[in-house]
Symmetry: C2
Subunit: 154 residues, 2 copies
Amino acid sequence: MKRAAGAEHEILRSAGLRVTPQRVAILKLLRGTRAHPSPEMVYRELKPAYPGLSLNTVYQTLHALEKAGVLRRISMEENVYRFDANVAPHVHLVCRGCGRVDDCNGDLEPLLEHLGREVAARCAWDIRAQDSCFYGYCPGCRSEGKPPKPREEV
Amino acid sequence: MKRAAGAEHEILRSAGLRVTPQRVAILKLLRGTRAHPSPEMVYRELKPAYPGLSLNTVYQTLHALEKAGVLRRISMEENVYRFDANVAPHVHLVCRGCGRVDDCNGDLEPLLEHLGREVAARCAWDIRAQDSCFYGYCPGCRSEGKPPKPREEV
DNA sequence: ACTTGACATCGTAGCAGTTCCTATGTAGTA
DNA sequence: TACTACATAGGAACTGCTACGATGTCAAGT
Ligand SMILES: [Mn+2]
Ligand SMILES: [Mn+2]
Ligand SMILES: [Zn+2]
Ligand SMILES: [Zn+2]
């Protein structure tokens, strides 16, 4: 293999997108985090190093990268977009206390794919994407004395 | 069993909520539809029969019923709330063409519960709810010549 | 290296969905 | 029937996202 630096450059090029400092920075940030940042979070994170950066550019770049399949957009109860550079099948955990979004570790891909096949077999839809989110309280928020209510919906 | 009429009345009472015409109407609508309506849809649907109805009341009622566990709120790519009186485990299908939200028929509950157990076993979170959405094109939109792209994310 | 055109960025204005505020109204209890 | 805590209506305010137009810049081709 060759250099690791410049990976973002190549990803952008092979997606048919021009390489700009903003896009490289945004993509690098996404590929280097597990926080599933929202557009605002991306903006706040990069603004110090790129004072000229526009929030609008963040939105446009995230859109372009999503359309190219480099990123995926996930939706949750807060009605705020969050982005993920990991486009492989995995489950998301969303904390109702602090809002953090984690990946669920452990190989659940077989289960997710099985579920996908079952759904595709049961409906006449043209399925393009699938999203499994679990809501609750992360270890940090749980220890802060959140009410231990019973299980609700599924 | 007793009467079917007045079911909404009893549901509201046992949820500790006052019974008002607005609440009965909203709950009855939700319990009688499979469209997973948004607050706006509920409002537009009921406004003719209840000219004095306020959109704000729709929001507040939906919130109260969600908090009581009578309704569940589902989130999807459009960043618009949609509500469901069916709080039992089931998969949702979301059309990227027309925006409709369907339930996936066929008993997938065992699979969903299995997935839930696996997730709970793999993380230290206090899980309270779970949501599985599939995105694509419904039969109607599919026949209108949508582009047949390959499968993407999971 | 220079030119050049298509594409990207920026700032701002606009929009839609949701929440906040408060005066008025009403359900449920005694 | 009277009272009070809770619910409603209307509108203002807020938020995240998108549209628009002027300016800037990447990269292909000379
Ligand atoms: Mn993820
Ligand atoms: Mn449903
Ligand atoms: Zn938390
Ligand atoms: Zn459709």
